[in-house]
């Protein structure tokens, strides 16, 4: 009668001293696969400028209307660049169509997955918040 009970306890006791096999989230962050689809963001090139030329193809292809309000302006060298760009993460379905449509590699799904917020408005990214800050976090195969 008591023997099975002790067997069970022994198993438990044995595992107390072994290395845990599950990921210790949130203390430990999960390494995502290279093809992971996080949230879309505007990429920057070496000199820190946005690659985006405001062609609006991502806006056109977006199936959930998460990308909107793209406004373009003309630069000194007659280049076209965005002055307004909104990515609405409350609408985004992380399909990656935008990155596929982009002819300039200027919008890319990053590897972030902790997107929950207490306030909805924080999920609506304007052009500055939609632009990547730490390029080292991102995968190397942008282009």
């Amino acid at each position: 009668m008591i023997i099975p009970l002790l067997k069970g306890l022994a198993t438990t006791l044995r595992h107390v001293f072994t290395k845990p096999i599950t990921l210790q989230y949130p203390e430990e962050k999960r390494q995502v696969a290279p093809r992971w689809r996080g949230h879309p963001e505007l990429t920057i090139n070496e000199d820190g400028g946005r690659r985006c030329v405001a062609c609006t193809l991502c806006m056109v292809v977006c199936p959930s209307n998460a990308i909107k309000g793209i406004e373009a302006a003309e630069g000194q060298e007659h280049e076209k660049y965005p002055v307004a760009f909104t990515i609405d993460l409350t609408r985004c379905i992380f399909c990656g169509f935008c990155q596929e449509a982009c002819p300039k590699g200027a919008i890319k799904l990053n590897n972030l997955y902790e997107l929950a917020q207490y306030e909805k408005s924080l999920l609506i990214l304007d052009i500055d918040r939609a632009t990547q800050k730490k390029s080292e976090l991102r995968m190397a195969d942008w282009l």
């Binding site: 405001a54 062609c55 193809l57 302006a73 280049e79 076209k80 300039k104």
Partner: protein, 866 residues
């Protein structure tokens, strides 16, 4: 009819059609690049090649090959597919891959064609050429690295606009679009931009503001001349971004680039009430209550005739109709008129005196369900009409004329679409153009005879022409049944044999030559413009012209007609809607006693302090100070009117004299109709909202309500129905159709005219006040940009020799002095001006040109270095 097969399908076609046209009409797609339906076939790209049997062994371009009986056409054989692919590869060799930023992206014909032909790789190589971008030119940006050398822009510029500003440079692979100079110096109509299949020519106002697929398109009518072009406003987020004419592509500079005036910061946004000499903003209710109370007070104290209304050639037919209804039915007076009295009404009256006022019979009420802006009247089986509208021509018929006499009109600035039609008429090599103008104008280049007469001698010239014509053809019987020829001949005897060439400065031989051309013409057309109409004897000028047409005209033949230029978008409509002292809607005649006072007489009465002078003025737009000659007098006189209400989009000089100013919508913000110069009904559609301001008809209706009148206007469509009900001339009229639609009989009476020189004074120079190409009235001078960039100020156009004698050079300030006043303005040397004649465009607020004039657009002046 021609029978042929395309890809095995048996098809019937009309002789003269090309293979491409027939294929399009039958839903067979043949790829093309340089072909555009608005142009003649160019045949440059060869993408549309097809195999034709019987025919040469090589494939033929479908766009330039006419169909023949028994023709067998193959559009998709392996050989032509291969040829098309190779040609596309050649086109794409070094085509700049800028689709993401190219404004043509999404509506690019090269993109579509690349998709359609499935060309995904170009395995050819060629040297890269320097892009030679042109970023400097106004409105047009040129990207030669995107050009496919189709030649459309060159053709549209040369054959349709007549500017000849761009052409190809170099040959073969190195062919490049050039203007010979940088930056571009042309009419800036921008037609090349919209005809370009790719993004080689870019509209700078549109650049980077939206992608082609994002815009909403609203079809409406251009408000910048009486031509009545229909165009599409492309809007995004309630802002107009560009204007296009999808069908014929052609628009002029003010049509294409004049739209920013809608967003002018000096547009009025709220009603204004004057208190202690200062305007303050007021609510609509307050302003309308004040006007209603004041009008009631005047009407009770001095009778309804003490309120005078001036309609507007800018406002819609509906607004103008309701305006006169407010006076005639509401107040019970006929004291309305419109500023066309100084120009267009003179043409109408002159023509009416010779050809009679319109009479229409056999028109019946239509029982069919009524579509918007369709006349509720239809033509009966016996419908008949007569009177002057039947000698007014449709623009589309002008190309059928075989002689065009242009008198006193610089056609392109006054009405660009009429200029385009004139070029079409000249496509016919048998068409003769006689150009009579004191200045050299654009069409002198095409003229067979140029009559350079002295300003103000139009009637002498016409008398000379008539005399020479009748001397050559003593037995001539006019094609139109006419009376009074003997009296006319008698009156012409007063003109001495040498008098004509002496006074007009036109050689006798040229007059004889013209008379001979007139006698040969099978379909003569006569064009006249505001230069002729704005003279004090403008009406007699038109009478003389009408006499000439009565003699030589053949109204039964298409193209043979009179084409008076109506300056503004609704110059003709305002008269037909009944805002005329002597006519009800549809030119229904009022007898002398019942009729109102014409505008000039009203001003005279005000000046004289006549007890019958109005005590309140209601002006439906129209800046009288800037449109009526002798400005200082007009200003003094208007100040005598006790109470002035102005309905306008801007605080114009006239509005500044008003006690109440009511802000109104402009074309893009309202619904309604315009009648173009040739009698085409143009329908406006609202493209953008207009916060704060209201359409003219709504204001008049609300004012009527406050005064206790039941004008009963609910919607422009309903007002139009009511208006069209009372205009039998419009029977059967529908949007974009031209009236009169019933058969007409034309008869006339020759009216002898005087041949005085209408230009008194001894000052050495003659000033002509006229129109410039880049502006429309005063409307376009408010824009934050648009055509103001092309012409930002008025300049005195002076012959270089005259300038030298005066010691003036280009850009220097000159002082122009007439008996009425003086103004100072910069000089522009203009070789097209004859010696002793100077020209000044009247659009701008500064300098106020009409300070110089007395009763005409011509005035003698002295010019000094200022």
């Amino acid at each position: 009819m021609v029978n042929l097969t395309i890809d095995g399908r048996a098809i019937q076609a009309t002789k003269g059609q090309t293979i491409l046209e027939v294929a399009d009409a039958n839903g067979i797609f043949i790829p093309r690049l340089c072909y555009h339906p608005a142009l003649k076939p160019i045949g440059a790209c060869r993408i549309c090649v097809v195999e034709v049997k019987p025919g040469p062994p090589r494939p033929l371009p479908a766009c330039a090959t006419p169909v023949n009986e028994g023709m067998e056409v193959v559009t998709n054989s392996e050989r032509v597919l291969k040829i098309r692919e190779e040609l596309m590869k050649l086109v794409l060799i070094n085509h700049a891959l800028e689709c993401p930023i190219c404004d043509k992206g999404g509506e690019c014909e090269l993109q579509d064609l690349t998709h359609a032909l499935g060309v995904d790789q170009v395995d050819l190589e060629a040297v890269k050429l320097a892009p030679n971008h042109d970023y400097e030119s106004l409105f047009v940006e040129r990207h030669p690295d995107r050009c496919v050398t189709c030649g459309r822009c060159v053709h549209v510029c040369r054959d349709h606009v007549g500017a000849m500003a761009i052409n190809f440079m170099h040959r073969g692979y190195f062919t490049e679009l050039g203007s010979g100079q940088l930056p571009l110096d042309c009419e800036f109509c921008g037609s090349c931009i919209d005809i370009c299949p790719v993004g080689a020519l870019i509209n700078k106002l549109w650049k980077y503001r939206a992608r082609a697929w994002e815009v909403e398109k609203t079809e409406t009518v251009c408000p910048f001349c009486g031509g009545g072009c229909t165009y599409e406003l492309h809007t995004k987020n309630d802002r107009i971004l560009r204007v296009r004419n999808e069908k014929s592509i052609l628009l002029c500079s003010r049509g294409r680039f004049g739209f920013p005036v809608v967003e002018a910061p000096d547009r009025l946004k709220t009603p204004l009430i004057k208190e202690n000499g200062e305007f303050r903003e007021a609510s609509w209710d307050e302003a309308l209550d004040l006007v209603a109370a004041k009008f009631k007070e005047v009407a009770e104290n001095a009778g309804p005739n003490a309120i005078y209304g001036v309609g507007s050639a800018r406002a819609t037919n509906e607004a103008n109709y309701l305006f006169q209804k407010f006076f005639r039915q509401g107040l019970g007076s006929n004291q309305v008129d419109n500023p066309g009295r100084y120009t267009y009404i003179r043409a109408l009256r002159g023509l009416a005196s010779v050809f009679g006022v319109p009479q229409v019979s056999g028109v019946e009420a239509s029982s069919a369900a009524l579509l918007p802006y369709h006349s509720p009247l239809k033509l009966g089986a016996e419908a008949q009409g007569s009177g002057f509208p039947f000698v007014l021509g449709h623009f589309d018929d002008l190309p059928k004329a075989d002689l065009v006499l242009v008198l006193g009109a610089d056609v392109t600035p006054e009405m660009p679409p009429l200029g385009w039609k004139l070029l079409r008429a000249l496509d016919n090599e048998n068409c003769r153009l006689v150009l009579a103008n004191p200045r050299r104008t654009k069409f002198d280049r095409y003229a067979h005879v140029s009559l350079r007469y002295k300003p103000g001698t139009e009637r002498i010239l016409l008398a000379g022409l008539l005399k020479a014509f009748l001397a050559d053809n003593p037995e001539w019987t006019p094609a139109i049944s006419a009376t009074g020829l003997e009296e006319l001949k008698e009156s012409l005897k007063k003109v001495g044999p040498k008098e004509v060439s002496q006074k007009t400065g036109v050689d006798d031989a040229l007059i004889k030559e013209t008379a001979a051309l007139l006698a040969q013409a099978q379909a003569p057309a006569i064009l006249c413009g505001t230069e002729l109409l704005a003279q004090d004897k403008g009406e007699q000028n038109v009478q003389a012209l009408a006499d000439l047409f009565l003699l030589i005209g053949k109204p039964g033949i298409p193209g043979s007609a009179v084409y008076p230029v109506a300056e503004k978008n609704n110059s003709r409509g305002v008269c037909e809607a009944g805002v005329m002292a002597e006519h009800l809607p549809g030119y229904a005649h009022l007898d002398e006693a019942a009729g109102g006072t014409p505008l000039p007489e009203m001003l005279d009465k005000l000046e004289a302090g006549d007890p019958a002078a109005p005590q309140a003025l209601y002006l439906l737009g129209g800046d009288l100070l800037r449109a009526v000659p002798h400005r200082s007098r007009t200003e003094k006189v208007l100040k005598k009117a006790g109470f002035i209400v102005v309905q306008d989009a801007f605080l114009t000089d006239t509005a500044k004299l008003a006690q109440v100013v009511l802000p109104v919508t402009v074309h893009a913000e309202q619904e309604g109709t315009f009648i173009s110069s040739d009698g085409t009904l143009g329908v406006l559609a609202q493209a953008i909202p207009a916060p704060g301001v209201r359409p003219d008809w709504q204001i008049i209706n609300q004012l009527g309500e406050k005064m206790g009148y039941k004008l009963g206007a609910g919607h422009p469509q309903q007002i139009f129905r009511e208006l069209a009900q009372s205009v039998p001339l419009w029977a059967g009229l529908s949007p974009k159709a031209s009236y009169p639609l019933m058969p007409g009989t034309v008869s006339g009476t020759f009216i002898p005219f005087d041949v005085d020189l209408s230009l008194p004074g001894r000052r050495p120079y003659t000033l002509i006040v006229g129109k410039a190409l880049n502006h429309s009235g005063t409307f376009t001078t408010h824009a934050p940009d648009g055509t103001l960039k092309l012409m930002s100020e008025a300049t005195l156009q002076l012959n270089p020799e005259d300038a030298q004698n005066l010691g003036l050079s280009n850009g220097e300030t000159a002082k122009v002095i007439s008996s009425q006043g003086e103004v100072s303005l910069p000089v522009a040397l203009a070789p097209e001006m004859p010696a002793g004649v100077v020209f000044l465009a009247e659009h701008f607020a500064e300098p106020p040109v009409h300070l110089l004039t007395l009763n005409s657009n011509l005035v003698r002046v002295t010019i000094q270095k200022g």
